[in-house]
Each structure stands twice: as C-alpha cells, then as structure tokens.
C-alpha cells in the first residue's frame, strides 16, 4: 500500500483554510497518480492504492468541510464517494480471491471442488466490479473531478483571504 504523501509547507500557525487547500491539492495529486492501470485484474495492488488514495481524499474533504463552499463540497464528496464505492466493488473480490489462493495452496484434494465453486462466484463478482469501476472512472472524467477539486482548494484559499 502506498504511503501517504507528506503535506509540504504545512505549519501549525497557518490558517485552517490554507491547510485545507494544501492538503486537498496533495491528496488530489495522489489520487490521480494511482489511476493508471486500475482495470488490470493481474495487478490488484493498483486498485488497492487508488482506493486508499480515495479514502484519504475523502477524509480530507470531511475534515476541512468548513473551508469549502457548501454545494460544491457536497457535489465533489458525492463523486469521490461513488468512485470509492466502485473501487470497493473491485477490491473486495480481489482480496477474497487472493485469500482463497493462499487458503487453497496446501489444501487436501477433496476440498478443492468446494473452494473452486466459491472462487468461480467471486471471479464473476470481480468482473462485475471491474465493469462498475470502468463506468465510475469514465464518470469521474466526464464530471471533471480534478477540476472541481482544484476549484475547492482555490475557494478555501479565497475564504481564508476573506476571513
């Protein structure tokens, strides 16, 4: 799992809203840096890293909620949540399949058919999850999530200047 990036220039005496802008920008960069190749089911760590990045971004948006314009914040949070749910729809079967593989490694032959029956079902869920994720990624692109996140960061800075 990717380590969280440190928020450069963060200082205790900075205004809360300036911290919000700096943090949202860092977490936004982190999210989009992990977007490449997430639909590849052969490398499940990509989805995991992007999901964690989404969670970190979501946490930041919630922590600094008071620094953003209400309606824009609500809309961005909803898009991020939809993306997080889609990443979860892919990640959950990824993890189950990985666990099943480890579990089946030293298993008695007589147990394999049952494990395979379950695995087949989970693989179907993984395919379904991947389709949901592909759709969500397109929706993020269409909604210009990145642009809206940048706008939120700008608005936080403006709020501080006005305070």
């Amino acid at each position: 799992m990717a380590k969280a990036r440190a928020i450069e220039s963060l200082h205790e005496e900075l205004p809360f809203a300036t911290g919000a802008a700096l943090t949202v920008r860092t977490r936004t960069d982190e999210l989009f840096a992990h977007a490449a190749g997430v639909l590849d089911t052969d490398d499940i760590e990509r989805v995991h890293d992007m999901r964690v990045a989404t969670r970190r971004l979501r946490a930041v948006l919630e922590v600094y909620a008071d620094c953003f314009p209400k309606d824009e914040h609500k809309a961005v949070l909803k898009t991020v949540k939809t993306l997080a749910d889609a990443l979860g729809a892919r990640r959950d079967p990824d993890v189950q399949l990985e666990d099943l593989q480890a579990f089946a490694k030293d298993l008695d032959d007589a147990d394999r058919a049952g494990v395979e029956l379950f695995a087949a079902r989970v693989r179907a869920e993984q395919r379904e999850g991947n389709a949901i994720l592909a759709e969500a990624l397109e929706a993020v692109e269409r909604a210009d999530l990145r642009g809206h996140l940048d706008a939120l960061a700008d608005a936080a800075e403006a709020a501080e200047a006005a305070a």
């Binding site: 969280a4 200082h11 900075l14 959950d92 666990d99 147990d111 029956l117």
Partner: protein, 202 residues
C-alpha cells in the same frame, strides 16, 4: 457510521488548533466502542470501530508533524487496530457467503437427486451421483470451519492489541501529543499548560 460533526471550525483559525479538535473527537469515537466491542458477537460495532479507526488514522496522517512525537506512533497503532478489525470484517463478510453458497448447492443437489429418482416411492442411494455439487460440499464446509476459527483467533488478537493500547496509555498520550506544538519552545509549552507527558499507565 456517520462521523460526529466538529462544530465551530473557522477557516481563519490556526491549523494545529483546529486539527487538534478534530483528532480529539475522532479519538473519542474510536474509544467509545469499548467495552461494547469486547463482545465477539457485536459484528456491527466491530465494523463501525474499524471505520472510526480509519477516520482517526487518515486525519492523523495529515498532521503528525504539527503535534508531539506520539502522534506519529499513534498512526502506526491505529493502523494496526484498523487492520485487525478489517480482517475480522472480511471473515464476517465471507462466512455468510460461504454458508449461503453451501445451502444453495445443497438445494440444487436435492432437486437434481429428486429428478433422477423419477417417480420412485423412495430414494435409492444409487441416484446420489446425480447431485452436481456433491464433490463441493466438503470444501465449502472446510472453508466455513477455517473462517470461523480464524475469526476467533483474530478477535483474540484484537483484544490483546486493545489491552496493549490501554497499557501504553494510547488515549491519554495521543490527547497529550495533539496539545503539543513541537515548533514552540519548551517555555511556551509550559505557558500553554502542556505540562508533562502522562505515564504509560494513564
């Protein structure tokens, strides 16, 4: 589980003081699940405690450098808590799925066997090979046993971890750390009433 609102935060307020208030609330949210979550049957509470731990960790990750040194240690401790609760949750999700598939496979087998029996008055064991999932039943039962046993082990690990956190004074030390401002001088800290870090058994 919805996070508790932290009211009265203002864009112009000092960052560390605002984040201190948020961390304090998130820390209280995690700790509020105990002792309820000591009951292994409280599946919902264990899941919600995991979410609360996740929220605490992600807010701490933003601001560890603004607080005292224990804040960084607290990220590691919170992640350990989140991880073990996550693994318990995975068992709680998978176990009913395995049970449901086993029941479904059994029902399909019963149907197939009855069909193979035709209009017979009684069921002859010779028709049992008509059950399509017969080879799968044992593996599904083995999986259920494994998941249940692993869940018990993980729960014991969670209890041991929480005991460790209590012994090291996790809550009090983190509450103290978020009141510290490392960039200020020692005298400033004393003026601000930061005082002495609580002992490990706090």
């Amino acid at each position: 589980m919805k996070a508790a609102a932290v009211k009265g935060l203002k864009p112009g307020d000092p960052l560390a003081d605002s984040l201190q208030r948020i961390v304090a609330v998130r820390l209280d949210e995690v700790c509020a699940f105990m002792p309820t979550a000591q009951d292994p049957g409280r599946v919902t509470e264990l899941h919600d405690m995991r979410i609360a731990a996740k929220r605490l960790r992600y807010v701490l990750e933003i601001c560890v450098d603004l607080f005292g040194p224990y804040a960084r240690e607290a990220v590691t401790r919170t992640k350990a808590l989140q991880d073990v609760l996550g693994e318990i949750h995975d068992c709680d999700v998978t176990l009913p799925q395995v049970a449901a598939l086993a029941a479904e496979a059994r029902a399909q087998d019963v149907e197939a066997v009855l069909e193979a029996a035709g209009g017979a008055d009684d069921l002859a064991p010779e028709v049992l090979p008509a059950a399509p999932h017969a080879p799968a039943h044992r593996g599904l039962a083995t999986m259920a046993v494994y998941l249940q046993a692993r869940r018990e082990l993980l729960f014991a690990r969670f209890q041991a971890l929480w005991l460790d956190l209590e012994r090291e004074g996790f809550r009090a030390r983190l509450q103290f750390a978020i009141g510290e401002r490392p960039s200020r001088s020692h005298d400033d800290d004393m003026d601000a009433g930061a005082g002495v870090e609580p002992s490990a058994d706090a």
